[in-house]
């Protein structure tokens, strides 16, 4: 009997299995490198150490948000509240810092506030059947509203009670010219840790695998006896807490914040995730792709400005570049599928 089965089941072709899902992410790597090379060839500043340094330092927050956004998107959900959570945690954080609460405690409180919004989103989704898009849209409005009720001032850290230690740049290579310095700060380190955490979480924990399963088919995941509900809570809690973390890194970096910070960041994060090869309907994708997506997204703006694109055209060009990107990805994938 078993022999009969054996002879008809052929081993699948080698190499096929791994590549197909990786292709969009690999495409992101290639295109990112191409963009850097193009920038360098035309404008000569894109491989300066200073440029690379500030690419990471200025976008540590976006990398964190992209990782945060990857989780809900992998399940076919979305978290639209991340930008607003950055705003509310930043406003509360700075208020507290100005009231003399020690910086470390302020950070803990910021993370807790993030957690509260994550929990609220999770509850609305799991207990009241709201779709993630709507639930997090509501928490987005709520967070932004509360932030502006608390304060619409531009808040700055007091002199001796701030998050400077996160922002202070550590120079690895200190050239006489700042544009040739290679530096990083704790914010970048935090982003790096978040990325590693995201990778381990998604690929080496059962909760992470459940996230992929939910993205494949929620009802299947439920019937397979996976802890779907708990996982959903975990996802929205994690993404909200990571948004609060992004807020800490961002406010530390610029030393000030206000209620309007983070408008539209959720869409930047979604764009990063998608550019990185994660499918918006869930099930496929990688954290590392999202990180690359964030870098690609970040480099679009300087490119348009260097190309001297007329003001009215900038958003069109940015849109077109993302479009070219996803179309290319699609083409690469189509070729991969044919093979």
């Amino acid at each position: 009997m078993t022999t009969a089965t054996a002879n008809k089941v052929k081993a699948p072709k080698k190499g096929f299995k791994l590549d197909r899902q990786m292709i969009p992410t690999l495409a992101a790597v290639v295109i990112f490198l191409l963009m850097i090379i193009m920038g360098q060839a035309l404008f000569g500043t894109y491989i300066r150490l200073g440029f690379i340094s500030s690419l990471f330092i200025d976008h540590a927050y976006l990398i964190i948000l992209a990782v945060a956004m990857t989780l809900p998107i992998l399940t076919g959900g979305i978290d639209l509240s991340v930008g607003a959570i950055v705003a509310i945690t930043a406003v509360v954080g700075l208020k507290l810092a100005n009231a003399g609460v020690p910086a470390i405690l302020v950070m803990v409180i910021m993370l807790l506030i993030g957690a509260v919004f994550g929990l609220l989103a999770g509850t609305l989704i799991e207990e009241f059947n709201m779709q993630p898009f709507i639930a997090t849209l509501s928490t987005m409005f709520l967070a932004r509203g509360i932030a502006s009720i608390i304060s619409t001032d531009s808040l700055t850290f007091p002199e001796n009670n701030n998050f400077d230690f996160i922002a202070n740049e550590i120079k690895i290579i200190d050239n006489p010219k700042i544009s040739n310095d290679l530096s990083f700060n704790i914010g970048v380190v935090i982003a790096l840790i978040v990325v590693i955490y995201g990778y381990i979480f998604l690929h080496h924990t059962r909760t992470g695998r459940t996230i992929y399963a939910i993205g494949g088919s929620r009802s299947s995941a439920e019937l397979m006896g996976l802890p779907v509900k708990r996982t959903q809570y975990t996802i929205y809690l994690t993404s909200a807490i990571l948004a609060a973390l992004a807020s800490i890194v961002y406010t530390a970096n610029i030393g000030s914040a206000k209620n309007t910070v983070g408008v539209g960041w959720e869409l930047d994060a979604v764009a990063s995730v998608v550019i990185g090869g994660t499918i918006i309907t869930g099930g496929f994708g990688y954290v590392l792709g999202s990180v690359l997506g964030a870098l690609v997204r970040s480099i679009l703006d300087p490119l348009t400005s260097d190309f001297g694109v007329p003001a009215e055209w900038t958003t069109i060009v940015v849109g077109l570049m993302i479009l070219v990107f996803v179309v290319l990805q699609r083409a690469v994938m189509a070729v991969g599928e044919k093979k």
Binding site: T5, A6, A11, P12, R209, Y212, S220, L223, M224, G225
Partner: protein, 512 residues
């Protein structure tokens, strides 16, 4: 027997859905070390009973005790934790993940750094091997294996949990004889280790082969619990359908072969039709009024060939003549326009449109051929829906229910009705009797014969060689994605002939 203490006792289980009482005071008792079958027609409530036990549905009244403890599970996770492993009727796996991941989901082997993938895949391999899938690399994407193999993967997954109760809802409906034997071997092993197995199947042979005890349901009501060996078939059938077995329509003898007149043009004449990687070029003639059976083992390419004939996949070689005309069947729409219809084996993903009503599901293909802006007049639509629900005995006879709320077998009947409504000249049926109860199976087989008698060309794909042999005029035998033989089905041909052909012919058509 009775000295054993039962492991699961369900008493007076009642479940109501809006408008239907799916279960009405049903009892079920499972004993360790026994295979217990739930018997009943399509829609009798078997799957619902299983879902009540595992907490998918909430019960309206009744009690469930597992190992003496009253339980009300809040979902399959709880049931699993209590030692109940379940394979549901529709394959419920994640097509975005690999085979190995699906087997081990939630039970991945862990090392110091979280999941240890090497160990996990090794474990997956052993479980797959148990199901006769030793040659499938656990890294293979689930989406690339056939629905039948997915069924085996789902069973392998159930093995991972060291269960005290194993529930298998129609696990054999898409397997061929070999796989069924493999599965039974495992079931016996598991049973002998003291596990209680709950089994659902519409194949009486299988029931008598593997089960110890039966619980019979009819229309959501508990009829009787009996020991298998004490219950003759007739009596069992009688209890299931509520009338005597003799009244059941039976298709006895093998169909006599339709003679092809010399010079007669085939309805469909296919030359060198193939698609790289799925099926090698095939020549095929199908005449009006002829039933052509496709036989072969799991993954031999029967489905793929059927899909090419329907244009569900685009062929990359070959010519296709239909009704004497050269046609280019590039998509299902063109196929339907040319009066070719195809009923899929993958009911859930490619068949039913779950949230639409039964009525809409029956009408939709006909509507699509008429075009969006040419709606079927209400009267005509009502007549069509009535006709096919009646003819195929769809239960409940309520056309306005979402099709996803029908039992598996009834969904299948609705789908067949959908294709008949388009009045095809060539009807390709891929596993049409899968999950259909014994009564309805005979009815569907009769429908096939009637259609052929009226001049329709029928392609009949089934894993049950018995029905292929009984219904077909010609049998195309496939192996490893090649057509290896074409057998004219006369009285000398039997199941054994085909099995021999498969075993003894290699893909070049030569004797092995």
């Amino acid at each position: 027997m009775t000295d054993k203490t039962p492991i699961v006792v369900m008493k007076g289980i009642t479940i109501e859905f809006p408008g239907v009482k799916a279960l009405d005071g049903v009892d079920l008792t499972l004993y360790p070390g026994e295979v217990h079958a739930l018997m009943g027609e399509n829609g009798a409530g078997k799957s619902t009973m299983i879902k009540a036990l595992t907490g998918v549905y909430k019960i309206n009244s009744g009690s469930i005790t597992v190992e003496g403890k009253p339980q009300s599970f809040n979902g399959t996770l709880d049931a699993q934790n209590a030692g109940i492993a379940t394979v549901y009727q529709e394959v419920n796996l994640c097509t975005n993940l690999s085979v190995g991941e699906n087997v081990m989901l939630g039970h991945e082997k862990r090392g110091p750094f979280g999941i240890d993938w090497k160990k996990t895949h090794e474990a997956a391999k052993t479980y797959l091997a148990q199901m006769g899938l030793e040659n499938i690399d656990p890294h293979t994407p689930l989406s690339s294996i056939s629905i039948a193999m997915q069924q085996l993967v789902a069973i392998a997954r159930a093995m991972v949990i060291n269960a005290k109760v194993l529930i298998l809802d129609e696990p054999t409906s898409s397997l061929d004889a070999n796989e069924v034997q493999d599965l039974f071997k495992i079931m016996r092993k598991v049973r002998d280790s003291g596990v209680a197995i709950l089994f659902v199947s519409h194949f009486l042979d299988q029931i008598y082969e593997i089960t110890d005890r039966l619980t019979i349901l009819r229309n959501g009501k508990f009829i009787k619990e009996v020991m298998t060996k004490d219950t003759p078939r007739d009596e069992l059938i009688g209890m299931m359908i509520g009338k005597s077995a003799a009244e059941l329509s039976q298709i006895g003898a093998k169909k006599s072969r339709r003679e092809i007149k010399s010079g007669e043009k085939p309805l469909a004449e296919v030359k060198g039709l193939g698609k790289k990687g799925t099926i090698n070029p095939v020549d095929l003639d199908i005449y009006k009024g002829e039933v052509v059976g496709f036989a072969g083992l799991l993954g031999s390419g029967r489905t793929e060939l059927g899909r090419l004939l329907f244009g569900a996949d685009k062929p990359d070689s070959g010519t296709y003549e239909f009704n004497g005309k050269q046609v280019n069947i590039s998509d299902p729409y063109t196929a339907l326009k040319n009066k070719i219809a195809y009923s899929t084996e993958n009911r859930r993903d490619e068949g039913i449109i779950g949230d639409l009503t039964v009525r809409q599901n029956i009408l939709i293909a006909l509507q699509a051929t008429r075009g969006m802006f040419n709606p079927i007049p209400k009267k005509e639509a009502d007549a069509i829906v009535d006709k096919y629900m009646e003819e195929l005995n769809v239960r409940p006879r309520d056309p306005d229910r979402p099709i996803k709320n029908l039992s598996g077998g009834n969904q299948q009947k609705v789908l067949i009705g959908r294709w008949l409504a388009t009045h095809p000249e060539l009807l390709i049926l891929d596993e049409p009797t899968r999950g259909i109860d014994i009564g309805a199976k005979a009815e569907i087989q009769q429908v096939v014969l009637d259609l052929a008698a009226k001049g329709m060309g029928v392609v009949f794909i089934s894993s049950e060689l018995e029905e292929v042999v009984r219904l077909s005029d010609d049998i195309e035998v496939l192996k490893d994605r090649h057509k290896i033989a074409e057998i004219e089905n006369d009285d000398t041909v039997s199941q054994a002939t085909i099995v021999e052909t498969i075993a003894n012919t290699n893909v070049n058509g030569k004797e092995a």
